[in-house]
């Protein structure tokens, strides 16, 4: 009946832990993370790679996990929002989002924080243009982005690594 083929085994690491996944090859990484790994911090906003709510890192590259078939992540290292804090100690960028009003409804926040952290890993002291461009793939309907920019600036101000 199903047009989905047979499930395959995919081995990868998620937030530093080795996992073995059984999934249909074209299953979206987004669904596998949420449903099999229980990592519901990765959100679905549009399902077509426009909004960035499902952003995760694969081997250090920021991707929209709704556009990644799970077969592509065999052997890869995946990072999600759940891997950002060190236990109860928030990453600097997470704290900055709280302090500076970067999160309102919170649905874009996990993806936005991953995008911000990815940006700061590339540009520890980004210019305004770099911040705007670095976050351009992540849509936020609540903040008008201003407080997100301020959060990013605040996170790098002390010159410490963002995460």
């Amino acid at each position: 009946m199903s047009k989905r083929g047979n499930k395959i085994r995919v081995e990868c690491s998620v937030n530093g832990r080795a996992v073995a996944l059984e999934a249909y090859p074209m299953a979206r990484l987004l669904d596998v993370l949420r449903e099999q790994c229980g990592l519901t911090g990765t959100k679905e906003g549009c399902g077509e790679g426009e909004c960035g709510a499902c952003s995760v890192e694969i081997d250090g590259t920021l991707v929209n996990s709704c556009l990644v078939p799970v077969l592509q992540v065999n052997g890869a290292a995946i990072s999600t929002i759940e891997g950002m804090a060190h236990g109860e100690r928030l990453a600097k960028i997470q704290q900055a989002f709280i302090t500076h009003g970067g999160a309102q409804c919170g649905i874009c926040t996990p993806g936005m924080i991953l995008a911000a952290a990815n940006l700061l890993a590339r540009y520890p002291n980004p210019s305004e243009a770099q911040i705007r461009e670095g976050l351009a793939g992540n849509l936020c309907r609540c903040t008008g982005y201003i407080k997100i920019f301020e959060s990013v600036v605040a996170a790098c101000r002390a010159g410490e690594p963002p995460a």
Binding site: M1, S2, K3, R4, R34, L39, T40, G41, T42, K43, E44, G45, C46, G47, E48, E50, C51, A53, T80, I81, E82, M84, A85, L90, Q94, Q95, F97, I98, T99, H100, G101, A103, Q104, C105, G106, I107, C108, T109, P110, I113, I131, R132, E133, L135, A136, N138, L139, C140, R141, C142, T143, G144, Y145, I146, K147, I148, F149
Partner: protein, 742 residues
């Protein structure tokens, strides 16, 4: 201004930590044991008779739970103002995307295949798709005359004013639909059976609206229906009324299947089927004296309501009352109506009718100013309303209002005058034309007229033995900051820290009905009830001798423990009491429309590339008087976010219709502002405390949607010299105007 300790400080967002760690539980993050998935089968034509429903394809239909109108145990309608919208279409359909069949199955991939394999056989009937066709009654598609509601506001004598006018200026303005585009699509989880009743969990603004709809659909007593709000990823009005529909659908599937059902819309379904901002058309006829004084304003305001009435009467009401703005004019007539078309019903969206009528007014007044040879700001200054004068609905302004001061401040921050002159001088030499424009406006907080009196909102508070205070209200957090400001208000009143205050999850089984989370009413109206509830707890402790006035915070827990031990539960229950000096005449649409208004002047600076007709907003200044600001970071965030939505409304967000159907219902072709599109947004608050708001606060949420688009439109008109009369000002539309000879 009274000194405050917690109010006026940027206390961090209460649920911030859960949100930045990904732990916050939105509806799609929740799984119940044995839960299956639900889907909605929708009709594709605008209007017709249902001839049959066919279950086709190689689908194991026996495995599916299938619900149609005949499975509804109670009434087949989503109860709101009236009961005209069916829960599931039965016999006829009146708009595309109308729900007809519900399906549920454990495998959501198979479910999607099944959804596509249901064929709804329809005999099409001619539809109505424009305001003009609806008014002309080309087809009667609703009631006797296609009119959901109409209003007439009259002040003075408009008809006798025309003769003495130095100039009479007419204009017609239109705005398109706008999608709320909260990033979390709509969804619900339901559990329902005869023994336990119905429980739904979901993304929504108004738990008691869904509760009312479920009571009707299931025909169950109120205490057998329970609605719980989960973390909500944005609403903006889009989750005001439509969630009631999804709640009923999920609950019907759960009722029939005997299993918990999760019904989550994907983005395409959400954009196609749920509500949008009402498209509008406004006609103005304005008489001015030689000295620039407004003599008469005649305004004709029409909203396209879509196929069912839903909230159109109240959206129309707010749009009507705001249509004449913060100006003093002795003679005003506003006629308005909301009409039916065969499109999905339009609904609540931040601003609620006012962004449409304020756009028309503020664009029109720039044109009136030009006609009489005054600068647009000088013309406004000569007509700004002052304390003691009356608004269009004959409401005397009792607040201290100083529009000229707001304008001065906004102009100073934006360097309006200098830039206006400079752009005028420099534009001719450049293919990039610069413009600067503004809008001055007001926004009423709370339900209109006698609305708050009828709502009679309730809030409860309870202190625990440990000295923690629980606030119980149905007011929802959807990103705008309800949890945080309620905890600040209660903490301020009780002399505690905000972390000692807990805001209970909105759950109709556990919290009283504090009304819907809409209409810029949460801070001002419900916040005041929270303050009163906190004061009531405090009074009980002080009057019982458990605390001394001026007590230190550390004495509070011990006092609570002793009170509860000796007297029993320490709780307070507060009900809204309408101020006796506010009067509203619903029949003549006259009186105190709102307890308080926020007042504002917004300035936009734009560049128009005349080769591509692309408009960029280069700078934005938002100056407003909103009473006491409870939390500066959250308040500024409200304004900035609203301005960004207003930029989308002004320039990008274009719903393309074909026979009642949105044909660009994706984020790839319905364009909202990104981080690349927003200018610096400089927000400034003037604070004049409002005696009836908590610590002096007024409403703020909707305000920024009213003034942003007209400020931008006026700036584009300044840059290009073209008559901008329609939103959105897409590059395509502007290019046509630039190429036309003037």
């Amino acid at each position: 201004m009274k000194q405050t300790r917690i109010i006026g400080t940027s206390v961090p967002r209460k649920e911030g930590r859960a949100k930045v760690t990904g732990r916050a539980q939105y509806v799609d993050d929740i799984a119940l044991p044995g839960m299956i998935h639900g889907a909605t089968v929708r009709n594709s034509v605008a209007r017709g008779r249902i001839l049959g429903i066919h279950f086709e394809g190689e689908i194991p239909w026996k495995e599916f739970t299938i619900v149609t109108a005949k499975d509804i145990p109670g009434k087949n309608c989503i109860a709101l103002l009236i009961e005209d919208q069916p829960c599931l279409a039965d016999g006829v359909v009146n708009h595309p995307e109308e729900p007809v069949v519900l399906l549920a199955h454990p495998d959501k991939y198979l479910l999607e295949e099944a959804r596509r394999a249901v064929r709804i056989e329809i005999e099409p009937l001619p539809g109505v798709f424009t305001i003009d066709d609806s008014l002309a009654r080309k087809q009667i598609i609703w009631g006797k005359d296609n009119i959901f509601k109409s209003f007439l506001v009259e002040k003075g004598d408009v008809d006798s004013a025309w003769a003495s006018a130095a100039r009479i200026v007419e204009g017609e303005y239109e705005t398109g639909a706008q999608e709320q585009l909260y990033i979390e699509p709509q969804g619900m989880i339901a559990q329902a059976n005869a023994a336990e009743g119905v429980t739904v969990w979901g993304s929504l603004q108004c738990p008691y609206y869904a509760h009312k709809a479920l009571v009707g659909v299931f025909g169950l007593p109120m205490d057998r229906i329970r609605v719980v709000q989960t973390e909500t990823g944005g609403g903006f009005g889009g989750k005001e009324e439509y969630p009631s529909m999804i709640a009923c659908h999920a609950a019907l599937l759960a009722w029939k299947s005997g299993k918990p059902v999760k019904l989550i819309y994907d983005r395409a379904e959400d954009m196609a089927a749920t509500t949008k901002r009402h498209p509008s058309r406004t006609r103005h006829r304005t008489a001015v004296a030689a000295d620039g004084k407004l003599l008469a304003m005649e305004i004709d305001f029409t909203l396209d309501g879509g196929a069912y009435q839903t909230l159109s009467p109240v959206v129309l009401s707010r749009g009507t009352i705001h249509a004449a703005g913060p100006y003093n004019c002795a003679n005003v007539r506003i006629r308005s109506r909301a009409v039916a078309t065969n499109a999905p019903p339009h609904g609540a969206f931040r601003g609620f009718g006012a962004p449409q009528s304020v756009f028309a007014l503020e664009r029109h007044l720039d044109r009136v100013a030009q006609a009489i040879g005054l600068e647009p700001d000088e013309f406004r200054r000569r007509n700004f309303i002052r304390e003691g004068q009356t608004l269009a609905v004959s409401q005397p302004v009792r607040e201290k209002v100083d529009m000229p001061r707001l304008m001065d401040h906004a102009f100073e921050l934006s360097r309006y005058r200098e830039k206006r002159r400079r752009f005028d001088a420099e534009n001719s030499a450049s293919e990039i034309k610069k413009g600067i424009g503004f809008a001055s406006f007001l926004h009423g907080a709370g339900f209109t007229g006698s609305g708050e009196e009828h709502l009679a909102s309730e809030v409860a508070a309870e202190a625990t033995r440990e000295g923690r205070v629980h606030i119980m209200a149905a007011s929802t957090e959807m990103g705008q900051g309800t949890n945080t400001i309620f905890s600040q208000i209660a903490a301020e009143a009780l002399g505690l820290d905000p972390h000692q205050i807990e805001i209970l999850q909105p759950d109709t089984a556990a919290v009283p009905n504090s009304g819907p989370t809409v209409a810029s009413r949460t801070a001002m109206i419900v916040g005041k009830l929270v303050e009163s509830a906190a004061h009531s707890l405090q009074q009980k402790l002080i009057q019982g001798g458990f605390l001394k006035p001026g007590y230190p915070a550390e004495d509070f827990p011990e006092a609570c423990r002793r009170y509860i031990q000796k007297t029993g539960p320490l709780e307070a229950f507060i009900k809204y009491e309408h101020p006796t000096d506010l009067h509203w005449d619903d029949h003549n649409y006259r009186g105190d429309a709102y307890g308080a208004y926020a007042w504002a002047v917004y300035v936009a600076e734009v560049s128009v590339d005349t080769r591509t007709a692309e408009v960029r907003v280069d700078d934005f200044v938002a100056v407003q008087e909103v009473g006491k600001v409870i939390n500066p970071v959250l308040a500024a965030g409200q304004i900035e976010g609203g301005v960004a939505q207003g930029i989308g409304f002004a320039l990008y967000e274009n719903v393309v219709w074909h026979e009642g159907r949105m044909v660009n219902g994706q984020m790839t072709n319905y364009i909202m502002p990104t981080s690349m599109d927003v200018p610096p947004i400089r927000v400034h608050f003037e604070e004049i405390p409002y005696a009836r708001g908590p610590a002096g606060a007024k409403g703020i949420g909707e305000l920024p949607l009213d003034g942003t688009a007209p400020a931008i439109a006026n700036a584009v008109a300044h840059a290009t010299g073209r008559e901008i009369t329609r939103l959105p000002i897409t590059a395509e539309a502007l290019l046509e105007m630039l190429e036309a000879h003037v």
